[in-house]
Symmetry: C2
Subunit: 332 residues, 2 copies
């Protein structure tokens, strides 16, 4: 497997991507092609004692900033993202990973690689931990205004990813809604429900409406929604977890006796953090384009980058995309 | 102040509402009129040593179940909700509190009391704790498909409530969106942004887009959104807080040393729970109808009911509704 890693993407680039690439090469034995400003990358690489031949550098002199408009980024043909996509198009690489500007990576991916047959709207998805394992949520921001059949396509793509990459045998698919009953929802979800129900008669494992609480209940493996709602849910979750931890910490500090006991909690808190740590999951797959693209969090650390590379390999090794095309035709 | 309390509303009715009524009468000196099945209520009341004359019972023989369709509930003219609303219409009471079926209470309120002048869509709102205090979020489920000017009206109503009941001097209003920039969002929020910006030129304290993370950041006092997104955000928050606590507890039990220290945490955890406890806030005001209506959580305890009665009094004592009508005209 040959994975392109955008060395210029993320809040701490190229330091973090380069460290992640070295870890991936050493620990996973994956070939990593770093795209970006050659000099900066090679400077950074020289800090590591890696002497193998699994890491390559391909120069890409243009930069895309974290808040650049996708339409502007699309025009920078020599950016680390564009150059990486060309490698994939020319069959010199199998998958792409970036912790950079989500909108830009998505736009350039769709433009350069093209959409899978039948897929109208590629979706950004995310893996969220729950009490029993994980929930795969999509779309989380690529498509803010959706038609009912887009949600059906998200269900098909989500099911495929859960099955082939996350290892869920027969993923239970839910439609994010405001009540369990079939008649609940807004115009979009009421219509989407009908389409999903119809697809379930042809074999899709649609189990019904999921509510906000079900994103973490473990009762669904895949939950579909429009990208506006998904984005709010994702950002809300990230911040709420942090804030609850902060409130707990404040209260521990406010109580002398609790402060004494807090030290004994360290092992538990470490395991707790590991369980809810996004870095374990590597990143957000962009589904519906013709090659595996994983978009990692801008604040990813090297471990998150390494895990994203791992996930990109699993994605590339599976026949996920042909399964999606087949099912889009079957259920669409 | 005379507050009608739906004695039949909630998961544990009439026990919890009756206990809440007794607490409100004793601690707040408020007159509480309990509506519902007279015999059941009087049986329950006889368990308390309350001997004052602040609690009254008005018989309402019909029941509305927690999951009854609002359209069906509307027809039950002798339900505890209908009978309570009639008391308000006839000026025999000033405000209404229920922990019952939200959709039914909302529908009967709008039907019986009518909407405030200029208000197109009454909204259900909620007070959420954050690091610095609270955020007032609306709509959380009454209006799942909104037009841009509905969001403007929610902003006007939210500002009024934050000012008159929550005590925020000059509440900072945000529009729930997927990015900070003015150009971000779906069709609804892009248009709503323009209306809110225009209103801000006339004096509304609209400070811009709020993201999912801002619901708990403390940077906004009032956040407006359509009822679909708000409902997902609310249910997600409730469940995530519970699940994180559960994961932490599991991890503490998994680590012997942490288990030993956990007992010292009790005071901190107690304060933590108090800070994030919905019972402190009493309930969700329904804004935009002609009298104060507070809808409490179905699982409310007596304290939450008492606090809802307190909030209903504050609402009724303020000139919130005339302020809303004036501002709907000013900004509308």
């Amino acid at each position: 497997m040959r994975v392109v890693l955008d060395a210029m993407g993320g809040d701490n680039a190229p330091q973090v991507p380069v460290r992640g690439a070295v870890q991936a090469a050493k620990e996973l034995g994956v070939e990593v092609i770093l795209t970006g400003k050659r000099e900066l990358i090679e400077d950074e690489l020289s800090k590591y004692s890696y002497s193998g031949n699994l890491i390559k550098v391909v120069d890409a002199p243009e930069s895309i900033s974290m808040d650049e408009q996708p339409s502007k980024a699309l025009k920078k043909k020599n950016s680390s993202v564009h150059v990486g996509m060309s490698l994939i198009k020319n069959k010199e690489a199998d998958a792409f990973v970036s912790a950079g500007n989500t909108g830009a990576v998505m736009a350039i991916s769709v433009f350069s690689l093209g959409r899978l047959k039948g897929v109208e709207r590629p979706a950004i998805s995310t893996v969220l931990p729950n009490l029993k394992g994980h929930t795969f949520l999509l779309d989380v921001g690529a498509n803010v205004d959706c038609k009912p059949h887009h949600l059906l396509q998200f269900a098909v793509m989500g099911e495929a990813y859960a099955k082939y990459v996350l290892g869920d045998e027969n993923p239970r698919i839910g439609l994010l809604n405001i009540g369990e009953e079939e008649t609940k929802g807004n115009e979009l979800t009421k219509e989407a429900y009908k389409l999903l129900k119809k697809a379930s008669e042809k074999g899709l494992n649609f189990v019904g409406n999921a509510e906000g609480r079900d994103i973490y209940s473990g009762d669904f493996d895949v939950i579909v929604c429009d990208g506006f709602v998904g984005n709010v849910a994702l950002k809300l979750s990230e911040s709420l977890a942090k804030i609850l931890a902060k409130i707990l910490k404040e209260e521990i500090e406010n109580h002398f006796i609790s402060r004494l006991g807090a030290i004994t909690l360290k092992p538990a808190i470490k395991s707790f953090k590991k369980r809810i740590d996004y870095a374990e999951w590597g990143g957000a797959p962009l589904l519906g384009v013709k090659a595996p693209v994983i978009i990692s969090h801008g604040s990813s650390n090297a471990k998150a980058i390494k895990n994203a590379i791992k996930v990109a390999c699993q994605f590339a090794e599976s026949n996920l995309n042909s399964y999606i095309e087949k099912n889009i035709e079957k259920y669409g």
